[in-house]
């Protein structure tokens, strides 16, 4: 089944056509990259997918269901999760609490059970704790469990953000420039982390990236955006050697 189907997506900001006629479909457990020059509309696409912006036209389906008229948190519940270009953790919360925030929407209990602390509450709290510990284990965050998120080293903050997004149990994870600001060694670690996420959590991943080593290293397919439109799309090797792509990036 397709986890994501986008057809002829477009959005206008005033007179600016920021994204035009964008189509993309992603299958389960696929790893796809979006590349393109700055201002090409990559992050706008992410914001459209997660419902932060409303599309002017076109259709988006997550796991076969249209996201039209759905609010952001409902779309997340349909199986989408994302990280941000500039890391946006809950800085005043501990590492484990950051992950728990992501986990909570999967567990339903109302205010009264929370206040009265029924046995259902304790069972859920235990399940949530266990799931959080599992996620921290995968990302090597256990030693930082009670650190405030703000005090983590940069690379670990990135990983925590990915762990927090995975906590919502997405079938498609959107990563917005995960390697931004990383040194070459950190980028290599990140590539391993992304591969691990894809294998262990069986999620599809769509990532925006400028680091071509990373794109070449892990993406199965690449979509190139330029001026809001798809310039070309296809298997990574083929696209990265395409003359139109090189032109868009480097000029004539």
């Amino acid at each position: 089944m397709k986890v994501l189907e986008v057809q002829n997506l477009g959005v206008n900001f005033g007179g600016l056509r920021a994204v035009d006629n964008f189509s993309l479909s992603i299958s389960e457990n696929e790893l796809v990259g979006i590349i393109g020059p700055n201002g090409a509309g990559k992050t706008t696409v992410f914001n459209l997918l997660t419902g932060v912006y409303k599309a002017s036209d076109g259709e988006i389906k997550v796991n076969g269901k249209s996201i039209k008229n759905k609010s952001c948190h409902q779309i997340i519940n349909m199986g989408l999760a994302r990280t941000f270009q500039n890391i946006r953790l809950f800085n005043d919360m501990s590492v484990i609490d950051n992950i728990k925030v992501g986990l909570y929407h999967r567990y339903r209990y109302n205010l009264m059970t929370g206040i009265l602390k029924t046995s259902k509450y304790f069972k859920q709290e235990e399940a949530i704790n266990e799931a959080a510990v599992n996620l921290m284990d995968v990302f090597g965050l256990m030693p930082y469990r009670d650190y405030l998120a703000a005090n983590l080293p940069y690379g670990k903050q990135r990983e925590l953000e990915i762990a927090r997004a995975l906590a919502t149990k997405p079938s498609l994870l959107l990563l917005d420039e995960p390697a931004a600001g990383m040194n070459p060694q950190e980028t290599i670690d990140l590539m391993n982390t992304i591969r691990k996420v894809k294998d262990e959590f069986a999620t599809a991943i769509l990532l925006i990236e400028h680091d071509m080593h990373l794109v070449k290293g892990i993406c199965q397919r690449v979509v190139v955006l330029n001026y809001g439109q798809v310039l070309t799309a296809g298997p990574t090797d083929q696209v990265l050697t395409d003359s139109a792509v090189i032109k868009a990036y480097l000029g004539e």
Binding site: T50, V52, S71, C72, H73, I76, N77, A81, R82, F84, R88, L89, F90, N91, D92, M93, D97, K100, V101, G102, Y104, H105, R106, Y107, Y109, L111, G114, I115, R164, A165, A167, T168
Partner: protein, 294 residues
């Protein structure tokens, strides 16, 4: 009575009014934390709470039911104010929200004046407990009840915010609405819950306030409201322990200046302390310094 026990008595007076300020300040600070809005209508919720309690008692309801009625109506009122007045302005500038809040405050005062006239009504003596006598200090029943109830409520609130799912959602929304939304948190619901809790605390504060100063009029919310706002700023607005600390500090300074310096000057002194603290620590006692990204 020696000077030391007199001092202790005044200290208790201060803790009593301080705990009421703290309860109200919690509403200011929670709403500010989550909606970045100084909800100036919050003081008038206290007044509504006191009126509902008074009218229910006069209407023949037993005290516990009157208190519950007051809490429920304030909770609903708080949520309604948010839905009708603030929610449509969520993306407007802060100043627009602030002016709307002042407008709501006057709307509440004026409509209560219209319905119930501006005359003050006596509030019944609802806390009839024997005074606590320790040595030569006498603490009136309503005083220790107020303090105990406030401390319990503050502890419960702190646990709620730290430990429960909804509490974590509230902290997440107050830190970064965008990121919280993308963690599957329902922002509208979380903000509504915050207003509801703040208003429920205001209702209880209103009843406790009137137990100490047994008069109800459409304007009684203004002064404790302003004081509590100061307490919230003093403690560091947005911080829950800060609001509690600020409330107690304010109440104690007020009581001690009234007793030892001058009751006319007490407001001037309280406000000077506020100015001094803000000069040296603009973010309040427990507030965090705003981090600027360079």
């Amino acid at each position: 009575m020696n000077t030391f026990s007199q001092f202790l008595m005044q200290l208790f007076n201060g803790i009593n009014s301080g705990s009421i300020y703290a309860l109200i300040a919690l509403g200011y600070t929670m709403v500010y934390g989550i909606a970045k809005l100084i909800n100036f209508a919050h003081g008038d919720i206290i007044m509504v709470g006191a009126y509902v309690c008074l009218l229910s008692i006069n209407g023949g309801l037993p005290l516990p039911l009157a208190i519950i009625a007051s809490i429920i109506s304030c909770t609903v009122l708080g949520i309604m104010i948010e839905k009708i007045a603030y929610k449509p302005l969520r993306n407007a500038s802060r100043i627009t929200l602030l002016i709307t809040a002042i407008g709501i405050s006057y709307l509440l005062q004026s409509s209560f004046q219209l319905i119930f006239s501006s005359n003050s009504r006596p509030f019944p003596d609802i806390i009839n407990l024997p005074p606590l006598i320790i040595g030569d200090i006498t603490i009136a029943g309503k005083y220790y009840v107020t303090i105990i109830i406030s401390v319990i409520l503050m502890t419960v609130l702190q646990l709620f915010v730290k430990k429960t799912k909804t509490g974590k959602a509230m902290r997440a929304v107050s830190e970064d609405q965008g990121a919280a939304m993308l963690m599957g948190i329902n922002i509208d619901k979380t903000i509504a819950i915050t207003f509801g809790i703040g208003s429920a605390l205001a209702a209880i504060a209103g009843i406790l306030y009137c137990a100490s100063y047994p008069i109800v009029s459409p304007y009684i919310g203004a002064m404790p409201g302003i004081r509590a706002f100061i307490a919230a700023v003093l403690g560091g607005i947005g911080s829950i322990p800060g609001a509690v600390l600020g409330g107690f500090v304010l109440g104690i300074i007020e009581a001690l200046t009234k007793a030892y310096i001058s009751s006319q000057l007490s407001d001037a002194i309280v406000f000077s302390v506020l100015i001094l603290i803000l000069v040296f620590k603009p973010s309040g006692i427990l507030g965090q310094n705003a981090k600027e990204k360079v």
